[in-house]
Assembly symmetry: C2
């Protein structure tokens, strides 16, 4: 695959020019990975107009050479990463006004900028790199598609073995093993397996509850391939679905279909959200769709853009977003159907290739 | 189990008195869980001398009632948690000087304190709740012991099925499934399965490398029970160990044993670290033990106290710490042996009940 890092750095430097910044200090690990390829858990990156200054700790001594190579000046620290940053930044020329990531720098480290970093001026920025990350290139799209496929196969494999009497934890374990066997590098978020009334809790951890016949079984999880995430939800009925379950399922399924077919680059996040919300409201379930329609996915499982009533921003082409309408009724249960969708310039393309029909399993 | 939350709040309020604070805003989710029992992923908590003000979002509407109950005034927000905070704090009496968590508040939210929160004075604090969390009560110790036992059984079950030719990912999948089947609520950190030369990378993600006869196989993982973590590492040899492997293993095993037996409340983190380091240095491997000896575990898998050359702090009684010496040689491999140890007042008690002998497996 072509090395896209130089293009990304060039785009970042154009953004720095536009903001009249001499450089930017990055503390967000996904942003650092996007620009350098580094996949470890400890790093600082300063990008100036002429240099990349990269700091990590001794645990990543070997890895940083393999992943970052000669793209950056690299400092390996045994104590604090900040020591290496101040040393390298002190040697940089023509750097006075530096941006920092206001949403990814804790107050304690912000104070370091004002103290040890007082010879530079610091300006808060938000979303400088995140905006670049919204538009995926071909290599990124291929990885997200792989992650979506892997998740789909793991789900199908797992569901074929689900029976009444299993616990939510056992289902989670079978699913996570299938993800690993398929090659997932990790889990982008805590797997949700929620049965019966617990399916009404949008963020339920799997527990020791035994699945009963007649339960909804809601499964929300993802895979990671080459650092890129997928995020999928399906809701099943164990045994036979009753009429109320069929009706709610059908509302959510239709909302998912309307939004997945209708979402496109150029519309606002609010208008995308409305594709599903208007339909659900029209069917009388508006109060029971409490969350927003979706979010971008990529190196992070929640990233820009947002598909929500409160989002005026326009969806860019080549973004990948989730479409995940849901209807939840406390004490009874809930249904969510979630797909990953690429906003190709000529229309939406659904990556999640798992049936959306109501499946009665077990 | 007795509700220990009132005791914890009383201890926190004593700390606020000592710091002459009228209250504290908590943004660390583990700290919020410790004080209120809330296990969700979105919350703010303000503790004043007379009240607890708790804010979460609509996703946790049901859960917050079950977990927090009437311990706090609760506000459920659809947009920003901060709206609810300012509203409730505005109704509080005799609150002028508030602490905040400098290491757990990003700059963007710090600016909220200065703007929307400008009618209060704000003072940066560090480790106010973390210090309370160092000393575990009987209920916490029981949960960590359960998590350590669960991890031990899952490891033994998994290792019995490891064969040359399996990938690291497959071993991770089998282990994670065994953890789920044993009841683990999640994974406290990304499972490390590193084989052959990759065992020299202290933070290797499992990959598609096939395990070969003669490889080291390093496995570092944990379980979660009732929110509390365990953290264990074992290093195996697949097939027959050679002389160099035996020698390095024996050095690490002896360092682990010396430190696990010698660590006790009242010593500094530096002196604890030296229990293992002096021995490893004496055997000529000092340069190859690059990280510190260990860290506290509890609601977080890395918490206070630290067992490190740079830590002057005294280890308190009833802390639970990891003892994890290692020796790593780039390109060849590495060995780490990690146990969880309670610092009982009358001496250390090892929770990890898995053999520390060199096991030749597969």
């Amino acid at each position: 695959m072509a090395d896209r890092r130089p293009d990304r750095l060039q785009a970042l430097r154009r953004a720095l020019d536009a903001a009249k910044l001499d450089g930017i200090l990055l503390t967000s690990l996904p942003n650092i990975r996007y620009l350098t390829g580094f996949s470890g858990s400890s790093a600082l990156l300063a990008v100036t107009h002429s240099e990349l200054l990269f700091v990590t700790d001794f645990r990543y001594d070997v890895q940083v050479g393999e992943e970052v190579g000669d793209l950056a000046r690299i400092s390996i620290e045994r104590q604090s990463l900040w020591d290496g940053l101040w040393r390298m930044l002190g040697e940089a020329h023509s750097v006075e006004l530096m941006g920092f990531e206001s949403a990814q720098l804790v107050h304690r480290d912000f104070e370091r900028l004002l103290n040890a970093g007082s010879r530079w001026q610091w300006r808060a920025t938000v979303n400088v790199v995140e905006v670049l990350r919204e538009r995926k290139d071909a290599g990124e799209l291929a990885l997200i598609a792989d992650a979506a496929r892997l998740a789909g196969r793991a789900l199908e494999h797992t569901v074929s073995g689900v029976r009444a009497g299993m616990t939510e934890l056992e289902v989670a374990g079978a699913l996570e093993r299938a993800l690993r066997d398929g090659g997932s590098e990790g889990f982008p978020f805590e797997t949700i397996v929620a049965s019966g009334p617990r399916s009404a809790l949008p963020h339920a951890r799997p527990g020791s509850r035994r699945i009963e016949r007649g339960d909804f079984l809601l499964v929300d999880f993802g895979a990671i391939v080459g650092g890129y995430c997928s995020d999928v939800t399906r809701t099943f009925v164990v045994g036979r679905a009753d009429q109320a379950q069929r009706e709610v399922y059908e509302v959510v399924r239709e909302a998912n279909a309307l939004a997945s077919r209708g979402v496109h680059a150029g519309m606002t996040g609010r208008d995308a959200d409305a594709l599903a919300r208007s339909y659900i409201e029209g069917r009388g379930y508006g109060e029971e769709f409490g969350h927003s329609l979706g979010h971008g996915i990529g190196l992070e499982v929640h990233e820009a853009p947002r598909l929500a009533r409160t989002s005026d921003a326009t969806l860019p082409p080549h973004a990948v977003v989730t479409i995940e309408p849901g209807v939840y009724r406390a004490g009874w249960g809930g249904v969510r159907i979630e797909d990953d969708v690429v906003l190709d310039p000529d229309g939406p393309r659904i990556l999640t290739d798992v049936s959306r029909e109501l499946l009665e399993i077990g």
